[in-house]
Symmetry: C2
Subunit: 171 residues, 2 copies
């Protein structure tokens, strides 16, 4: 009686990717209604030495593809960080969601015990698949997803926790 | 080949609780060094209608006990929201971490298929244990933990992602 790594990782990641896409729609509508140049929100940040909104979305999507590709044991697609509009950020999210959905659940079998090597700064480290997912991948993914949300929230976009949680998997 | 609900939930939650406690130490040191009244950071927020720092910590810890108690099928301790200092917030975190640690792993067996009823606003909903953990509990937990971090980051406390991730479970 337990859960598969696919079940633990994939639906949750897709849920948040979808919610970020919908939050970007709200940010775009906010800009339109208030006559704000979207570039302002796209480059908005909570501190001068913290990633801006666009970068938070880029890193969140990088985590989504990195987590799932590493656990499935497949190459991850390269995504240059070139997005400068809400539409481009949404396209990036959609591309990553498509990649995540394309990975067969069977590829994740046994991933909990697979060795996941990572380079952290100059350090080479190793995780088991389960420790990587729960102790590094998901916390990282949510860290950047929540930062993207918090940036918009701070900037006055009318979003709430339900927007962040998205389509929660009630029965 | 899979992971238990205990393995998926408990170490990750304890990791972030520990990191929040250490981040509060940095916030306290920041206040001391800059002669800032700690009450300022404790009531700091990213938007006027968003929870302040103390409330983010209270809700994060509520999620930690709620997730683990529901999945283990035990009563959760009541924690009044009364903290007004960094030390009191750290004590709350420690109390919740002790509760989480006190739950025997065996109590989580079969939790992935357990029905978890929840009241969301005025709606009564149900999750399976696995869907509750991955699609509601953890996203909620990280949402508030990251908000607490983002509030301090925005307020100028010298914290970085490594502080948030805490003691990552490398081999």
């Amino acid at each position: 009686m337990s859960v598969s790594i696919h079940q633990a990782a994939v639906p949750a990641i897709l849920q948040i990717l979808d919610s970020l896409s919908a939050i970007i729609d709200k940010a775009a509508a906010h800009c339109e209604a208030r006559k704000i140049d979207p570039a302002v929100l796209i480059s908005y940040r909570l501190a001068p030495d913290m990633y801006a909104f666009a970068r938070q979305i880029q890193v969140t999507t990088d985590q989504a593809k990195g987590i799932t590709a590493r656990l499935a044991g497949v190459e991850m697609p390269s995504l240059p960080d070139v997005e400068t509009s809400f539409d481009e950020l949404k396209a990036r999210i959609a591309k990553v969601a498509d990649f995540v959905k394309s990975l067969p659940a069977a590829e994740f079998e046994g991933a909990e015990a697979r060795t996941i090597p990572m380079k952290l700064g100059s350090r080479e480290v190793e995780f088991t698949g389960a420790d990587y997912l729960f102790g590094f991948g998901l916390p990282n993914f949510y860290f950047h997803a929540a930062a993207a949300y918090d940036i918009l929230r701070h900037a006055g976009v009318a979003v709430g926790k339900r927007d962040f949680l998205g389509a929660i998997p009630i029965r």
